[in-house]
Amino acid sequence: MNEILRLNNIIKTFPGVLALSNMSFDLKAGEVHAICGENGAGKSTLMNIVTGVYKADSGDIIVDEKKYVFEKPNDAFDLGIAIIHQETSLFEEMTILENIFLGHEITKKVAGIRVIDYEGMEKEAENIFDLMNLSIDLNVKIKKLGMAQKQMVEIAKALTFNSRIFILDEPTASLTQREVAALFEIVRKLKSKGVAVVYISHRLEEIFELCDRVTVVRDGQFISCKNVSETNKHDLVSDMVGRSMDNYYPKADVKIGGEIFKVEGLNQRGVLSDISFSARKGEILGFAGLAGAGRTELAQAICGLTKKDRGKIYMNGREVKIHHYQDAMQSEIVYVSEDRGKYGLIVEMSIKHNISMPQLEKLSKNSFIDFKAEQKVADEYIKNVGIKAPDADFFVENLSGGNQQKVSVSKALALKPKLLILDEPTRGVDVNAKAEIHYIISKLVEEGLTIILISSEMPELLGMCDRIIIMKNGKIAGEFDRKEVTQEKILKVALEIE
């Protein structure tokens, strides 16, 4: 097998963050090569570099033994590198046939005019779908298709461009068993034609079933590349986890009280399955799991942001009915979203207005906002939480990520909740702000708050939490107490390995 792609010593930084360093990777024609790593290990960034979405700061990209520099996605595309994402870029109102050939339709001349050759396109599409062993109605509009079929169409589209390197990014996340089997068949077919497939996935069983080699990445670095036949799941987990367990975060010893919050039998069809757990006063309860495990969905279902099908929620022993987020706030439960821009903050407004937004009623007299009270609240939080801004009128969009997160947290704290659910509170935040946010969290539980901490960062979970619940596929897969937990244990449960 010839080497078709090689990356040497790729380095990529973003402001304040070293995303990839010492990253190398090689790919042979006709091979299926898996890339494995925790959330945030650098898999997406790596693929963005390979497909020309990002430009590496340094390092070589070598295709067919020639060096290339990718300035834009088309550069990679022209060399035959295609990526199949989860969010497809298909045109919903147009048919499968139209989508596959959009931009490079087959044409013929009729009476001297160039027109679209539907028969020609159908023939080629048929050939491609034959190759994929599929029988499909080409005249169906994309909007009628399910995820699995959309993926098939994306693969077919890439084949009309004669792509030689296919990158599949978590392709089986929304597929059923049958659909996964069909996808594997297609991958094997591609393999037999000499196409190289990069398979990014958390599902170790799939890697062992389908792939030839597996590369592990961690913290933006290349860790290992092994033949699948010469390794096993434990080995891979070891590689994925292997960092030293320093005591990063100071956790004060807080007296933990009795049960203050309980969830019983929470169900959301197709997403969450029979979730039951409880949290105690003064506790920091961590939620670990891989992307797609359902942690954010659980938080949103608890808070009434999405509808649950079944389930009871108890606050201080009494059942509370939460149908809308307002109900949650009234029960003194507040949620701080992972997506600051979308759910958390209104970036075109000031710090002051963002913090006061959830409690305008409290800050108003006779339907008029009490500006003095609003200013007071904002100033208080800027001081206590340590938001670095000239004043409370500063627009949030001009703040750094870390400070935006602090505004988000302030907004929640200003409501004086009893239970605070933080979803990835330090994602995309620089090291210093991260430490400051952790300090704030510690202080909060000292003052009697209870915190649910959803995070994908192992050190954060291990350093901060009293207990850690691990989710997988919308279910609770395991629970560990602070004293007995290790990274390996968490990852093994998250990946469902014996």
Binding site: M94, L102, N133
Partner: protein, 340 residues
């Protein structure tokens, strides 16, 4: 051409859904025509039928242009103003005693030029189409009083040749001929040209279109230019119908054009829509005003009736869209392409 799928368990294939929209419209047309037969039989007099067809013709020609713009996800509320300018421009040219063959090209050129301006504001200057075309409506209409004092009259005899003398078999107005030619070309064009596919792609997802190699700006501007040329044809046909040309000939017409497009099943959001639908939509609208007249209802009612028909038709199609969405959501789309 249709492949046999494995009985995909879909609520209905793409072709079936398309039939539903057009079938409803067709039924509506039949109903209106029957009502007319019953309550206003003299609607079907030769003169009136030809006059209605004339109105239908220039309405459809303009609506085809508007259809192209709406498919790309844009809107053009300046169509009426453009047509007014076209009218004045053609009249100016008419006063210079040129042969009538010149009128149509002049009208098309003026329409295309003004529409090109719209296209540039929207693409290069990135002004949302609603804002840009609202502005140009004022701009185009506003220039007219500066160049014309009142109305243009005393036009030479050859001015109205197209409307009054050029009749097929002595009775069918030439506008009908233009309309048929343009409609047929449009239907074929939208199906067989690569350009048309790009228009739909842009309306669906401009970013994905860009990634697929479509030059979004260039394509949108081209679409506006073609639409402008069509407005020019419509404008020329309207203006050459009389010896006196006012500055407001096209005023408000854009609303009827948009209505025809929407009534015909094209989504205002862009990305879909067929010319044949617009044909039926324009036909229905062209019947209403004269129909109301012949049924003895005051013409004050015709706007209201037109609005009501459009509203009902859009609500019906929206309900159809939502029902389909619900079906798609609740049905676990497990119609696996059959593995051989």
């Amino acid at each position: 051409m249709k492949h046999n799928s494995d009985g995909s368990g879909q609520p209905g294939s793409g072709i079936k859904k398309g039939l539903t929209t057009e079938v409803y419209l067709f039924i509506l047309v039949i109903v209106i025509m029957l009502i007319l037969r019953l309550f206003a039989a003299d609607f079907y007099s030769l003169n009136n039928v030809m006059s209605t067809f004339n109105y239908f013709s220039y309405l459809l020609i303009g609506a085809v242009g508007m259809n192209l713009i709406i498919i790309t996800g844009n809107i053009d509320v300046s169509a009426g103003a453009i047509i007014s300018v076209v009218g004045i421009a053609v009249a100016f040219v008419g006063k210079t005693n040129v042969p009538f063959e010149v009128f149509l090209p002049v009208g098309m050129a003026v329409g295309a030029g003004l529409s090109f301006m719209n296209g540039i504001f929207i693409t290069k200057l990135r002004i949302p189409s609603i804002v840009a075309t609202l502005a140009t409506t004022q701009l185009f209409a506003g220039i007219l009083p500066l160049v014309v004092d009142g109305a243009i009259y005393d036009l030479p005899a050859n001015f109205t040749w197209l409307a009054f003398n050029a009749k097929l078999f002595g009775i069918i107005p030439s506008s009908v001929l233009f309309m048929i030619i343009i409609a047929v070309i449009a239907i074929i064009f939208m199906k067989y040209s690569r350009f048309a596919k790009k228009l739909y792609a842009i309306g669906n997802n401009a970013n994905a279109a860009k990634l697929a190699g479509v030059n979004v700006n260039k394509t949108v501007v081209k679409g506006f230019v073609i639409a402008g040329a069509l407005y020019g044809v419509a404008g020329t046909l309207i203006v050459t119908a009389g010896q006196r040309v006012t500055m407001t000939m096209g005023s408000g017409l854009e609303m009827t054009l948009i209505a025809a497009v929407v009534l015909g099943g094209t989504s205002i959001a862009g990305g879909s829509g067929k010319i044949i639908g617009t044909v039926v939509g324009a036909f229905i609208l062209s019947l209403i005003s004269p129909a109301m007249n012949y049924m003895g209802l005051s013409s004050d009612w015709s706007d209201a009736v037109m609005g009501a028909i459009i509203l009902v038709s859009v609500i019906v199609s929206q309900i159809a869209v939502m029902t389909e969405k619900n079906k798609l959501n609740t049905m676990k789309l497990n119609c696996n392409p059959e593995v051989k």
